[in-house]
Each structure stands twice: as structure tokens, then as C-alpha cells.
């Protein structure tokens, strides 16, 4: 079978220039599940996309010897291509023995069976230089946004309780629109809601994201100041909200960034897809329930045909 070496182990990563965060990527040559696959040398590559999703460049980052961890600083490298806007890069690991079998890692390699690199995740680390850093590990889900002819597109339903705001704490949701198919060109509409603790909807917005782009949603700016004030706990000054989002034309993976720039503190987490919360005895019920939930959300609240609509106040 024709195997894309760059898709064996990859992670799409937002570059967050607008937030002033430096980016490092940590990569390992060991299988995290010890004993499953022997360690071997890997080559690391970086694919760069522009703020509009346009392909820019691929760079070789270097080698990861067996039984090693490497921390690759990326900010200086990527700012040569995009200096101030937010955009997408993708980190790839390719076993050196496979990379040596092709003239270019862009070429597919004929293999009897695609190797299983599940759970091989990259460490994505954002930092305020010289102060704090925050990191998260994740990988590209299998066949992300690879559309089969005639089949419906993938969908997204996601939620989180990590929306915390204060006079010094900012929270950003960062959806990533990536595909393992380099020919993918679809745009996605991403609708998101924010609720206060009482269950009152305080935000309902829709954005459109071209393929191979990221978007920074600054929730502290999008939620009305009066609502944030009302939600603040006088004991600790923190206002907490929940976030629900869906897309019915693509699978988008959001990161949530909590930052306290004055302290140099930053922390990042991914969300799980909604289906990861469901354990039906019949696996098909996962998609059925997720589809029903998205349909219900589609009809919820105000008709958000227009982008950017505040609700509540």
C-alpha cells in the first residue's frame, strides 16, 4: 500500500504570534508504551502554512537519536515566514530507515502494511521567554478530514469547563482546521456558545475557517464585560464559564490556552471529541448520539447566520 511518511506521526500546532507566546516542540524516539515498539532514529520535519492556509514550506528540523528526547525551538524559524499573525505548522516524525528509502519525504512509500504509531504524540510547549511555560501532548487523529468520495464530511462537537477570566487571567480557544489530505480545500463553519454557571447562554458566535488555518478566540474580549463582572467569585476574583462548539462540515481540534501574562504564566490543554465521552454497547450509537446533539445545537438559541453575535448582557 502507498503510505505517506509525513502522516505516520504528525501533530498540527498553532503558532500564536498574536499572544506573544514562544513555541517549542518536544519529540521522542521512544514508544511511550514501553515494550511495544523498539526505539530507533527518527527525522523531524516541519510543514508551514500561511495565515490564510496557503502552503509555504517544509523544513527539516533534525534527527532524534534512539532513546532520546529533543526540544526544538520553533519561533525563530517560523517568524522568517510569518512574523506577526497566527498560523498553522505541522510537526512530523519519520523513522530514519524509511526516510532514507525515498528521494523526498513527500513521496509515498510502498509498504505491506502501515506501521502502527498510535499514541506517538508531540509535546507542544508555549512560553513567555524566561518565565513560565505550559505544554500539552497530542497527535493527529487517524485520517483527520480525509474525505471519501460521496461520504459526508466529518463533524465536531466539543465542550470544556476551562474558561476562566479575571482582571489578569485570559482564556483563548484555538480551533485547528487541518487535514491529512494535502489536497483538502474545504472551509468550515465553527459555531460556539458560552454559558455562565447558571446555564445562561452568554455568547453565540460563528466563524468560518479555511483549511489549514487556526483561529484565536479571545473569550475575555468576546464575552460582555458586565457578564464577566456578574460571574466573578468575590472570594477569588475568578469568573468561570463553559464552552460548547460544533461544526457539521469538518473535524476541528481546539486547544484552550489560559494565560496570566503579568506573571509569565501559560497553560494549554486539548479537548476530547464528544464521542470520547460515550461508551455505548453498540459503537454506532456514538455517532448517532453525536449527530443528534449537533442537530439540536444547530437549532438552538438565536439563528446565528451572521458572524459575531452577543447574547445576554
Amino acid at each position: 500500500m502507498q503510505t505517506s511518511l509525513l502522516n505516520l506521526i504528525s501533530t498540527p500546532v498553532p503558532v500564536l504570534n498574536s499572544l506573544g507566546l514562544e513555541l517549542n516542540v518536544g519529540l521522542s524516539s521512544d514508544d511511550p508504551v514501553v515494550g511495544r515498539r523498539p526505539s530507533e532514529p527518527f527525522m523531524a520535519y516541519l510543514s508551514l502554512y500561511g495565515p490564510d492556509g496557503k502552503w509555504l514550506e517544509r523544513k527539516e528540523l533534525g534527527e532524534i537519536p534512539p532513546h532520546r528526547r529533543r526540544l526544538f525551538p520553533l519561533s525563530e524559524l517560523v517568524r522568517r515566514f510569518v512574523s506577526s499573525e497566527d498560523h498553522l505548522v505541522v510537526v512530523h516524525r519519520v523513522p530514519a530507515r524509511l526516510a532514507s528509502q525515498v528521494r523526498s519525504v513527500d513521496e509515498p512509500l510502498e509498504m505491506e502494511q502501515e506501521p502502527d504509531y498510535s499514541m506517538w504524540r508531540s509535546l507542544i510547549q508555549y512560553s513567555y521567554p524566561g518565565r513560565g511555560n505550559g505544554s500539552v501532548i497530542y497527535e493527529t487523529p487517524p485520517r483527520l478530514n480525509v474525505r471519501k468520495p460521496g461520504a459526508p464530511p466529518s463533524t465536531t462537537l466539543t465542550f470544556t469547563s476551562k474558561i476562566v477570566l479575571s482582571s489578569t487571567v485570559r482564556t483563548y480557544a484555538v480551533p485547528i482546521h487541518y487535514s491529512m489530505d494535502s489536497r483538502y480545500a474545504a472551509s468550515s463553519r465553527y459555531r460556539y456558545f458560552v454559558f455562565d454557571q447558571s446555564g445562561r447562554q452568554v455568547l453565540d458566535r460563528t466563524i468560518t475557517m479555511p483549511a489549514f488555518t487556526v483561529k484565536v478566540l479571545d473569550l475575555g474580549r468576546e464575552i460582555a464585560p458586565e457578564i464577566i463582572r456578574q460571574a466573578m467569585d468575590p472570594a477569588d476574583g475568578l469568573a468561570t464559564f463553559t464552552f460548547v462548539a460544533y461544526s457539521d462540515d469538518a473535524a476541528l481540534a481546539p486547544l484552550i490556552i489560559n494565560a496570566m501574562p503579568s506573571l509569565g504564566g501559560v497553560t494549554v490543554e486539548h479537548t476530547h471529541p464528544a464521542q470520547a465521552f460515550l461508551m455505548p454497547s453498540n459503537d454506532k450509537d456514538k455517532n448517532r448520539l453525536k449527530g443528534m446533539a449537533i442537530a439540536a445545537w444547530r437549532g438552538a438559541g438565536s439563528d446565528s447566520k451572521q458572524e459575531n453575535s452577543h447574547v445576554g448582557g
Binding site: 513560565g132 469547563s161 454557571q197 446555564g199 465521552f277 461508551m279 454497547s281 445545537w297
Partner: protein
Amino acid sequence: MWVDEAAMTVASYMPRSVKSFARRWLLKSSHPAHVGLRGIGAVQDLYYWVSDGRLDTLLPIQNYFSVFYPALDTATSGSLTVFDHRGGVLGRKEFPLCHLGSLKLRLSRVLGEFNLPPSAVPQFGTLVCDIAVPTKVKETLGDAQPFYFWDRFYIGYVNQVGQPTFVHGVDKTFIYQAGRPEPGRWYPAVREYQWAPEIPVNIAEYERFNVIMLNRVSRPKHIRLVVEDTADHSLEWKAVIQPNGVHRFELTPANTAGLAPVELRLRVEGMATPWSRPLVFKEFASGAISVMHC
């Protein structure tokens, strides 16, 4: 319940091929993931908490049922059980949760509600939180049983100046059956697993770097943390973790001074369950904090 646990214990020691056949036979009228999943309920993980005056723990509890059923009334209730670092129960708190609603609990306040004598209040431990499957959801699931939810919620930690950091659960620990307050364990047996976290640790960047391990099984567990440098020199630390307990391996520039401080790698040996991988808690000289699972 004990029949389920016995069956799972036997199954866990079978070779993979035999286990697959036995699992299909054992579970033909049950859930393919676990013989104990026979009705409706939720699977919950064990989480680390800290409340030591310097750090506190935030639980931002979201009614996740509302996300799946936005058109139903998913008002429900939840419970929080707090353990000390040895796995002893410190107390239990119940709370209501409205449709589409959420709740922020701070561990320092929850511990205060338990009215424990000051000497009995530890500075860290573990907890489990369960949100009951709402009545309307149970009615809707009806014939779709068995059906379980795996609540992969986020726990937060906050420093003295109010910077929060969050991490999600990584494993399964308890099975809550709808209508029954006492959960059963997900893992019936103690096994041996190793984990090689991807994180390269530049230890000089941190004031403290804690590698936190939890025990999700019913027996004490010996565990070993190995830290290796780029010249393959290593240091190791050992601990015994009680059921529902937790151990913090604290790494600092001082106690890793024999190693090259850049791109250190971690290895955890003796995990009792396949996915009970470590949590790392980073503290910086600026006072900033961040947490992640590996």
C-alpha cells in the same frame, strides 16, 4: 458485582487470543468494554488534588449531559469524594447541577466543610467526582442499554495570585451505576506497565518539577521513577502508593545535580494499569505554574 470482578480478574491474566474469545463469550449479553457495564451509568477517573496554602485545587464541573441532550432537562446532582494521599476517605460532598450549568468547587473550601481536626487535613490527596445520569437521559436511553458515559473532566490548580492551570483525566478508575452511590472498580487486577513520557525536561527552567503518580487499583503498588540524561546516566526514586493514593516525585536542579540538565527523559516502572501515566506539575521562579499529563 463480585462475579463481574472475578470474571475480569481471570480474563486479565489470559493470553490475548484466548482473552478475545473469552471476552466475546463472557460479554455476549453485556458491554464489550467491561463485564461490569450492564445498565446505565458513568465511568470516572481518580484525580490529584493539592491545597497547601501555596496552591489550591479548582474543580470546574460542567453538566456534560446538557451537551449531548441540549433539548432535554438534564438537571441532576453530583458527588465529590475526597481521599488523603494514602487513599483514606476524608469526606463526601453532594451538589446540584442545573441544565447547561456548571459549578466551581475549591478544595480548600470543601475541606473546610468536612470539619476535620486541623491535624487530620493533609496538603494533597486524590478525589473522584461523579455527576448522576439525569432522569430524562435515562428515560431517553431506554432500550439502548447498556450505555455508559466516560466523564473526562478537567481539574484545575491555582496559585496564590490566581493563575489557573488545567489537566484532564487519563484513565478509568470507578464505575458508577445509575442509582447506586457506591462505585465499583474498573480494574480488578494489579499488573505491571512501563511508560516513557515524551517530555524533554530542562530541569534548570523549573523551581520544582513534580512527577505525580496515582494508584487506581485496590492493592498497594510499588513504583519506580527513572530519570536519564543525554549521556545515559540515570537517577531513580521509588515509592509505594496505597489504593486511591498518590505519590509526588519532586525533581529539582539540586536533586538531579548528577545529570546533564537538558533534555532529561523520564521512565515510570510499575504502573498498575496501562494508562495511569504521570501528571507533571511545573513551578517556575516567576511564581507561574502549569500542569500536564504525559
